[in-house]
Symmetry: C2
Subunit: 342 residues, 2 copies
Amino acid sequence: MTDTPGPGRKRPTIYDLAELAGTSPSAVSAVLNGSWKKRRISEKLAGRITALAGELGYAVNYQASLLRRERSNIVGMIVPKYDNRYFGAMAERFEAVARAHGMFPVMTCTQRDPELEFEAARALLSYQVDCLVANGATDPDRIADLCAAAGVRVVNLDLPGSKAASVTSDNFAGAKTLTHLILDRCRDDLGHAGPLLFIGGRAGDHNTAERIGGFRAAHAERGIALPEEAILACGYSPDKAERALDARAGALPPGLFVNSTITLEGVVRWLNRAVPDHAGRMRYGCFDYDAFAAQLPDNVGMIEQDVDGMIAKVFALIEGGPASPAHFRIPCILRTPPLPRG
Amino acid sequence: MTDTPGPGRKRPTIYDLAELAGTSPSAVSAVLNGSWKKRRISEKLAGRITALAGELGYAVNYQASLLRRERSNIVGMIVPKYDNRYFGAMAERFEAVARAHGMFPVMTCTQRDPELEFEAARALLSYQVDCLVANGATDPDRIADLCAAAGVRVVNLDLPGSKAASVTSDNFAGAKTLTHLILDRCRDDLGHAGPLLFIGGRAGDHNTAERIGGFRAAHAERGIALPEEAILACGYSPDKAERALDARAGALPPGLFVNSTITLEGVVRWLNRAVPDHAGRMRYGCFDYDAFAAQLPDNVGMIEQDVDGMIAKVFALIEGGPASPAHFRIPCILRTPPLPRG
DNA sequence: CAAGCTTGCTCAATCGATGAAGCAGAATTG
DNA sequence: CAATTCTGCTTCATCGATTGAGCAAGCTTG
């Protein structure tokens, strides 16, 4: 295909192609961007140019192309992390759906750093995104202000903001459902009436707060009093969970609501270490999904966030008319083990 | 900060700022891109322009800026998938290191589709990447040709190619080490001399082939004969593993080499279903890492690929001089359970 | 066969940022 | 005080693709 490939070569431009084909740059441009029929370029010339472009490995310069167009068709998303199932799936789904809508997705990972978050948003604006998805942004309203000044639409994802439309999981409802399930199983399998222990996350965290709300609501609906010590918002990491459990006074209730698989990792480690005979004598559920964690014998259910549903809603908002700062809560999916255990 | 934010606004340009500040566009440009000292713009004017830019939420138009510069400082990477730990970690690490090197990372996910792979590479070229990382590309040489024509450097990652430098895990050595470990534990804990069963992956797959090579080599080093049926390259998915195990004739050897955590999921499911009393009577290892899988009682070790090391090598190649199509194999990390089991 | 339409192109302005070259006016020097 | 240097700007061409306007040749039509 390529003549004599080698580094240090200049990328061919429409001017190069025009000279080689003995025609004008605008004819080349029209042929290569598909507007040639409209611009009455003959099939013959079009064929010649296309073939030449193929030979030279021509690729448009978007920098030049987009400078001239008024819409870029680029959708940007900032993401806190990739290396966990939830945000990884978000990133992947976002890409696929953007492409299906004829847009070009650009993502950037902010490492949960609020300053980087803002800089990343500005960088994406500089790439002339038509639209920005602020995924898990700690200060979405600051980003919304920036985008408003640039006339760029924003949608918040995973964490809500007040200045743009927001799509999140229905953390409250999901947590309430899961809490009821764990309470049911504690009662049926172990004869334990509650309350459960909530572990993991940060109380200041919006989603954790909503989940704690659901956790409390489920207890309230059953008339179970919930002492303050029943909420251990000790952070997410396995180590923090282990240390929090070590530091806890009093007997461990046999029912646990674990706020993420990361935390569950610490919980399992702690159980294996500190409660040698725990097998079969605990019931827990986790707000997050992991295939191996789902197979742990005393795990009675996991909440999986509906990533596809959330991304679909995001694109509906992007395509839809002028966005009001509404908050859409997407129901979560409860995953229970295939067979009942005893 | 912003006056009256609202959609449909035009992004401010240096021309807008120049008019508002009563100065020329090039002064504004110089101030905003930091070259103002060199261009002898007064501190006073610089301050005025900077303040104005802040007020209006100005962000450079990279399309225009990059069109004028000769290097873009954009590094592109194509990735097969995000939603697994390995490629998720790759993506995240790639971003972080690119930023640390003062480059802007752009990634695009190819869904393991060879055609999309090529199109994605072309799209990244259109974004004027200075350098492209072809991660897990099924046809890296085709991409290398395309890039050579554009004078863009390529580095292959995870899967090697012949026309550009390649960085992969040392799959052979990793698999050999893991095989020896499993054989040791089979002998010591269960009195089983081998051979093991290899399960998962596709034999045509470069990395699987290398791992099978390591698996064979370990057996050969111990003088253990390895029948053909000991290699079950049945694909990666849990279902395929389950079905392959169902279809297998003869007794299951007590030692397994599992080629990925995805496959392990199926293996564990099958064991739970088809071998009720398997606990404590099996030893297996997995070429891949997952925190929960690591806690499975009969799992004697997992191979974690050294993502940080691989990405570091990739950037060393990017920064380094003219790249020869050498193949660098990065050693894997063996992760064994913290406490010996019996 | 002149007037008008169609076909198949080319011309030239434009998008926003950049930076070499240039140009007043002030400051310094001999 | 003329010559030179320095300061602090401005002017303008440029990057590559796009697109409205224009133009020459060929074809219709009355």
